[in-house]
Amino acid sequence: MKKISPFWIVVVAVIIAGLVFTSTVKNEYYFNAAYVVLQALLMAVAWNVLGGFTGYVNFGSAGFFAVGAYTAIALDKAFGLPLPLLILASGTVCGLIGLALGYLTLRLKGVYFAIATLAMAIVFETLVVNWAYVGGAKGAYILTPDSHLWFDSYIQMLFMVMLLLALAAIAVSRYLNSSRLGRGLAAIRDDEVAAECAGVPTLRLKLISATVMGVMMGVAGAPYPFFVTFVDPVSAFNLFIAVNSIAMPMIGGTAHWIGPVIGALLVGSLQEIITVTVSSELNILFVGLMLVGFITLAPQGIVGLVRKFRGRKP
């Protein structure tokens, strides 16, 4: 009999813990805070698929996130679709945008690619600002639906949805990292020309990686309108979303799938704690300082530090 990997045991344990959490804890604050952390985690894992594994730095994460959110708003308004279908639709739309972004890698590399992703986010923001159906520049209200399955409140359900999405993203990221495909991506990151010469189908792998990233960011954005109830382009395309999605994997470590998970849990939780204890102002300073600290002192992130500590090569 094939041995079950401890990873899946942990995944099942986390799902059960999540369900127990929703049925025992009544304090909604913890679900709100956990939702924000999990959303950041999903974004970080998504960014890492292209940024960490493949080495293509994407500054347009907020663009994908917002397109996911706005796809959900548009379809909710047009057809009143249930949340799972909205998530599916947002994932598909952002996956296709990711695929298009993948083709950009044919011509653009390094800093030029990063600038192109940033420009892409601005293009999408301009489109949304001028699209009156989804509220345009004045924003859109999404009223929280009354039904929330068997959960006590809507936020509990959103938390559980985000938990499942985050776990699914981690599972995909882990698969990509440890499979033959992941080794291909690592080869591209290290030297794309050499990888191509060695027979790695670089374009196909980059397309897969960019699409997966798009899908993940899209599904992260889909439940957001139901979480905040009012979305306007300024908040949905907020640069802070993009900065967090880069900072978290950088701090956690980009080469391994666990890196962004650790980074997001650490930075995300600390951000939530600092917001309600010290101030949000320090929050931004804190992320900045951590990022500078890690980039200069531990460029491989926490994962790199642990490996070094264990005496293994990073």
Binding site: N27, E28, V228, T229, V234
Partner: protein
């Protein structure tokens, strides 16, 4: 038994005193907590910090008077960093962890709306600070918004500008409407279109521009090319400055210019633009004219101006701070009248009562907006260059509309 009566009286008195002291210490031990989120960093921080100063002045005033329901008032607040995504978490924490007794809103539409579902689930009264038509969507009957936009916020905002224009002789015929691509300006422009239609003005220019625009002369030139009699501008502070400067550079020949420009109410921008502001007609909510000298407002502003020194906020504080003080006065007067924190009773009281506040008499309509609009149309006059102090007193922003608050006559047509 002689002397027993005084002795028993003494005993009763001492028990009464002791219990009063005990009650006093119990009250000290259980302050009344008011929770809110506020934009103390990020885009709206300047206004958010000013609002907080005003709110703290109110808290100190109330506590000096013995607090609310005999309990000292304490604030529990967190910075939402002008990020709507932070607001739901903050309000759930306030209600479920900090267990605040009352909540009030943050500043601005984007920060108020995300709190609504949480506040609504708990059925709390929600005094709110400067949200534009938030309740159009939620239709929550315990929402009370202090900005005097009026029962139809989007339309009432520009009603005065167009009513004034319609009274002029010869009556203007054409209007240009220009707005930034952002939440408030788009709503204000939509209202302006309705008012223009109501008075039969022909709209000859109706466009939006991206908020990141830096050079406004092409926009003003395009407007000038259509030769409008009126120019209605709906803008946020940076673009308001840009539009006023561009109007001068291009030599705009419209007969009325202004309307919905946010920022021209702030002392720093007034000082910066100086005489360029002369004869611009723009909305405002409170100005230091004799017609708006409500009881307490001058004393409040004097204290605010003292507190605001060196904090990087509006030094005069005419725009937001009096309203940030007033929305808590509404809460205070309601709690004192109802004598409990029963949210249903508080809401019922807020619906039926006319409140006396530092911003005048406040009466809420059924949708939680002011029952009657008090969006002022003021005209800048005799503004001197580089002088902040001139705006502290009357004579620089003449109230033209509504009639009840009028402090002078219009200069028409607009002359630069």
């Amino acid at each position: 038994m002689v002397g027993s009566a005084p002795r028993s009286l003494l005993r009763t008195l001492s028990i009464a005193l002791a219990s009063a002291a005990f009650a006093g210490s119990a009250a000290a031990a259980a302050p009344l907590k008011i929770g809110f989120s506020m934009a103390l960093t990020g885009g709206l921080a300047g206004a958010g910090k000013a609002a907080l100063i005003a709110m703290e002045i109110w808290r100190d005033d109330v506590n000096k008077k013995g607090g609310l329901l005999g309990r000292q008032v304490e604030f529990v607040y967190y910075d939402d960093a002008t990020q709507p995504a932070k607001v739901p978490g903050i309000y759930t924490k306030l209600l479920n962890v900090d267990k605040v007794d009352l909540v009030v809103s943050s500043y601005g539409t984007n920060e108020i709306a995300p709190a609504m579902p949480i506040v609504m689930r708990k059925k709390l009264v929600f005094p709110s600070l400067f949200g534009l038509a938030v309740n159009d969507q939620f239709k929550y009957n315990r929402y009370f918004q202090i900005m005097p936009a009026g029962p139809e916020p989007k339309v009432d905002w520009s009603r005065g500008f167009f009513d004034l224009a319609a009274e002029q002789k010869p009556k203007p015929k054409t209007v240009a409407i220009v707005a930034a691509d952002a939440e408030f300006p788009i709503n204000a422009a939509a209202g302006a279109r309705k008012n223009a239609q109501r008075h039969g003005f022909k709209v000859v220019y109706d466009k939006t521009y991206p908020p990141s625009t830096t050079d406004y002369t092409p926009i003003v030139r395009a407007i000038e090319a259509t030769k409008p009699d009126l120019v209605y501008v709906a803008s946020y502070p940076p673009d308001s400055v840009g539009m006023v400067k561009a109007a001068h550079e291009v030599g705009l020949k419209a007969k009325m210019f202004g309307g919905g420009m946010v920022g021209l109410q702030f002392a720093a921008i007034q000082k910066n633009l100086g005489p360029l502001l002369n004869n611009v007609i723009n909305y405002d909510f409170w100005v230091p004219e004799s017609t708006l000298d409500f009881p307490g407002v001058k004393e409040f502003l004097a204290r605010y101006q003292e507190e605001a020194k060196g904090k990087g906020v509006d030094p005069l504080g005419h725009y937001l701070p009096p309203f940030a003080y007033a929305y808590l006065q509404v809460l205070e007067q309601s709690v004192n009248s109802v004598k409990s924190l029963d949210q249903a009773k508080l809401a019922a009281h807020m619906h039926k009562t006319t409140f006396d506040t530092v911003v005048g008499k406040v009466k809420f309509g059924s949708n939680g907006e002011w029952a009657k609009t008090r969006v002022l149309m003021v005209q800048f006059r005799d503004v001197q260059p580089d002088n902040l102090e001139q705006f502290a007193g009357p004579g620089k922003r003449i109230v033209l509309y509504p009639k009840n608050w009028k402090s002078g006559d219009i200069v028409f047509p607009y002359k630069q």
